[in-house]
C-alpha cells in the first residue's frame, strides 16, 4: 500500500492535468457551438448527431485511434496530446446537448418579453437565455466532468500517465491494491471536481458571493496547479531523460524497469518509464521518437508489422528479417537479444500429458474435437492461430476467449483443456502445466529484443552500448522466475528488476 501511495503524487498530478485541460477545451468548443446551434436550427441534428456518434465509440478505442491519426499528421502521437484530444472529443456531447436543450427550454413568453423590452439577439442570449438555461448547462458540465475523470484512466495505453497506470498495471500483475488505489483516487477526484462545479453554480444562482469565491477560487487554484506542473518540465533546463516504453503485461513491466535500472547504473543517464502502452502504440511511439527504447518480440513485428505471419521461418531467419526491416524501413536499431523467447505455445495439464502421452502439438489431434481451447483476447484473430490450424489440422470443440492472466488458472481448474500460454510465463510451471512442442514450426519464434529509436541510436552511444551488454543475459527459466515473483508472489516489478540488476552487476 505504501509503495502504491508513493506513486500517487505523480499519477494524480498527471490525471488532474489531463482532466482539467480536456474539460476546459471541450467546454470551450461545446458551449459556443451549443449557442450557435440554438440560433441556427438546421445545424441541431447534424451537430448533435456527430457528437453522439463520437460518444458511442468505445472510449478506449477513441483514445487509441488518436495515435495513428496524429502520427499521420506527424504530430506527437503518444502521451499528452492524443489523450487530450480523445478526452476533449468525449466531453463535448453532454455540454453541447444540455446547452441546446437548456436554451430551447426557456419559456417562450420570456423570450418574447426579452425581445419586447428591446434586447438584441445577443443581449437576449446573455441576459435571459443563458442565465435561465444555466442549471441545465451546468448539469451537462458536471456529467462531462465525471466522464472525463473516468475516461482519463484510459490515457495510460496511449502513453499519458494517469491514475489508469494503477489500474492497468494492477490488473495485469494481479495487484488489486494498486487497482483499488487507482479507482478510489479517480472517484475521489471526480467527486471533488463535481462538487466544485455544483458549488459555483449554486453560488451564482442564489447570489452567494462567498460560495462563488470559495469554489471558484479552489477551481482556479487547481487550474493554476495544472498549468505550473505542465510548464515545469519546459522551464527546467534539463537533459531529456531516456524514455523507456512497456506494453501491458508483467514481463514488460519487469523488463522496462530492468532497462531503466541498468541504464541509470551504467551510464548515469536519467530515465523515465512510459508503461502500459498498447502493443502497436509502443512501436508507433518508437517510430515517432516519443519513446526511445522498449522490449519487443521478433514474431510480433514479423506478423503484425511485416505481415509475414503465415510463413514458417526459423528463429534466425525471423531475427535477421526483423533487423533488416527495422534498419531499412524505420531507421531503428535492434540493440540486444535478451536470450529468451516469449512465444505463443499450446499448454496442457501435466497430468493429461502423461496419461495420454502428449508431447507435441500434433498429439492433440485425436482429442481436440471434444476439448476446449482458451486463448487471450487477440489470439483467435492472429496469424499464429491460422497457422496452427493449417499445419496441424486441429479443430477444437470449443474456443473460449479470456484474459491472459486468468488462462493458466482456468486450465488448472479444468475450465478449459488447452491454453495459448506464453512460453516465458512462470505460471506454466506454477500451475503444473506443460508446453507442447511445435515440432513443425507453425508458430513463429518470439525472441525478446530491445529496439531503439533513431534518435537514441544516433545521439546516445553510451546508452546503446550499455543495453547491448544485456545481449543473451536472460534465460527463459530466469524470465519465468521473475514473472512468477510478480504474478504469484505479489512482488512489485520494480523490486524484481532491482534484484535482477544487482545480480547482473556481481
Amino acid at each position: 500500500m505504501a509503495e502504491q501511495l508513493a506513486l500517487l503524487p505523480e499519477y494524480l498530478t498527471a490525471h488532474i492535468q489531463l482532466t482539467l485541460v480536456a474539460l476546459l477545451l471541450s467546454t470551450a468548443v461545446s458551449l459556443p457551438l451549443g449557442v450557435v446551434i440554438s440560433r441556427t436550427p438546421w445545424l441541431e441534428q447534424p451537430a448533435l448527431g456527430v457528437a453522439g456518434v463520437i460518444q458511442t465509440v468505445p472510449s478506449l478505442a477513441l483514445l487509441a485511434m488518436m495515435v495513428p491519426i496524429l502520427a499521420g499528421l506527424e504530430l506527437p502521437s503518444i502521451g499528452f496530446l492524443p489523450a487530450i484530444i480523445g478526452l476533449t472529443l468525449y466531453g463535448i456531447l453532454p455540454v453541447l446537448r444540455n446547452t441546446v436543450t437548456g436554451i430551447a427550454g426557456v419559456d417562450a413568453s420570456l423570450k418574447e418579453a426579452a425581445r419586447g423590452v428591446g434586447m438584441t439577439t445577443w443581449q437576449q442570449l446573455g441576459r435571459v437565455d443563458l442565465p435561465l438555461a444555466m442549471p441545465v448547462v451546468v448539469a451537462g458540465l458536471r456529467t462531462a466532468t465525471v466522464w472525463i475523470v473516468g475516461v482519463a484512466t484510459l490515457s495510460t495505453p496511449v502513453g499519458a500517465t494517469s491514475l489508469g497506470n494503477y489500474i492497468f498495471s494492477g490488473l495485469q500483475t494481479r495487484n488489486y491494491t494498486s487497482v483499488m488505489v487507482g479507482c478510489v483516487a479517480a472517484a475521489g477526484l471526480a467527486l471533488v471536481l463535481d462538487s466544485l462545479v455544483l458549488a459555483v453554480e449554486t453560488g451564482v444562482r442564489t447570489r452567494r458571493r462567498g460560495l462563488v469565491a470559495l469554489a471558484g477560487g479552489l477551481g482556479a487554484l487547481l487550474y493554476l496547479f495544472a498549468a505550473v506542473t505542465l510548464a515545469a518540465p519546459y522551464l527546467a533546463d534539463r537533459e531529456r531523460p531516456v524514455v523507456i516504453g512497456s506494453k501491458t503485461f508483467t514481463e514488460q513491466y519487469i523488463l522496462s524497469a530492468i532497462l531503466a535500472e541498468w541504464i541509470e547504473q551504467e551510464t548515469g543517464r536519467s530515465t523515465t518509464l512510459r508503461q502500459s502502452l498498447g502493443s502497436m502504440v509502443a512501436f508507433d511511439a518508437l517510430d515517432a521518437g516519443d519513446v526511445d527504447l522498449y522490449v519487443e518480440y521478433s514474431g510480433t513485428l514479423w506478423a503484425n508489422e511485416m505481415n509475414r505471419g503465415d510463413e514458417t521461418a526459423s528463429r534466425t531467419q525471423v531475427l535477421e528479417g526483423v533487423e533488416q526491416f527495422l534498419n531499412e524501413g524505420h531507421a531503428m536499431t535492434l540493440v540486444a537479444r535478451l536470450g529468451f523467447e516469449n512465444a505463443y505455445a499450446l499448454a496442457v495439464r501435466r497430468a493429461d500429458a502423461s496419461r495420454l502421452g502428449l508431447s507435441r502439438i500434433g498429439d492433440l489431434r485425436p482429442h481436440a474435437t471434444t476439448w476446449a481451447l482458451g486463448g487471450d483476447y487477440e489470439f483467435f484473430a492472429r496469424p499464429e492461430w491460422r497457422s496452427i490450424r493449417r499445419v496441424y489440422g486441429l479443430e477444437f470443440g470449443e474456443l473460449r476467449t479470456m484474459d491472459s492472466t486468468l488462462m493458466y488458472q482456468a486450465a488448472a481448474q479444468e475450465d478449459v483443456d488447452v491454453i495459448t500460454a506464453f512460453s516465458s510465463d512462470g505460471r506454466i510451471r506454477a500451475h503444473d502445466l506443460m508446453v507442447l512442442e511445435d515440432d513443425r514450426g507453425a508458430i513463429p519464434p518470439y525472441d525478446a529484443i530491445v529496439i531503439a529509436s533513431r534518435r537514441l541510436s544516433e545521439n546516445e552511444p553510451m546508452v546503446i552500448a550499455a543495453v547491448a551488454a544485456l545481449d543473451n543475459r536472460i534465460t527463459v527459466d530466469r524470465m519465468r522466475e521473475l514473472n512468477l515473483a510478480v504474478d504469484e508472489d505479489g512482488e512489485l516489478p520494480a523490486a524484481v528488476a532491482e534484484r535482477f540488476v544487482r545480480e547482473l552487476s556481481r
Binding site: 413568453s109 418574447e112 419586447g116 423590452v117 428591446g118
Partner: protein
Amino acid sequence: MIELRSLTKRYGDVSVVDGLSLSVAGGELLVLLGGSGSGKTTTLKMINRLIEPTSGSVLIDGTETSAVVPHELRRRIGYAFQQVGLFPHMTVEENIAVTPSLLGWEPDRVRARVDELLTLVELDPTVLRTRRPDELSGGQQQRVGVARALAAGSSILLLDEPFGALDPLTRRRLQESFTRIQRELSLTTVFVTHDMVEALMLGDRIAVLNEGRLIQVGTPRELMTQPADNYVRELMSTPRRQAEVVDKLMTADATHG
C-alpha cells in the same frame, strides 16, 4: 400618435389580421376588443414589430416602423405582456431597469427611476426592490410588469390583457391605478382585452375586431347608441344583461326576505 394602414397578417391562406386601418391620437387610450382569434394580440405585436406584417404599415409620429431597427423601436415603446413575462432570475429592480440599462442610463438615474415607478404603481420600493418575481402576488407582478413597460419613459404603451389573470377586486384596483397613471403621463395607449366592462371603463375609444377585421371603432357611447351590426349590438348589451341578472336576484331576495 399611432397609425395603422391596411395592416394585414397572413399565415399561409389564413388571414389573422385583414386590412386593418386605425389611428390612435396622442394621449388617447384605444381598446382593441374582441374574442379569441379576433387578431387583437397580433395587431398589437405588429405595432412594435414582435410580429412582422404581411402587408400594410404602422406609423408612429409619422415615421414608418419598418424603417427603424426593431430592438431600437421596442426600447421606445412600453409593452406589458399577457403572461407578465418578468424575468425570474432578476430582482424586481433589475426587471424594471432592463430597458433603461439597455439604453445606457447611469446607475444612479436608473435607481431613482425604479423607486419612482414602484411608487407610481403603488408598491413600496424599500420592501420590494430586491425581491424575485416568484416572491410577489399576481397583482404585484402585474404592477411590476406595468412599471417595466413605463421604465424608459416612452410615451407609447402597448398592453396585452395585462389584468386578465387577476381576481375581480385586485383587477379593479389595478384598473383604477392604471387609469390614473395613463392620464397623469398622457400616454398614447393601445389596450387589448376581451372583457367588455374593462373596455367600457378604460377606453377613450373602442375598436371592435372579429375574425381579423375591424367591425367598428368609436367612443363607448357611440358603440352603445349606434352599433354597426348585430355583433356589436350583442357585445354592447352584455354588461347590461349581466346587470339585469344581478338586479333580478336582488329583487327576488327582497320579496322573499
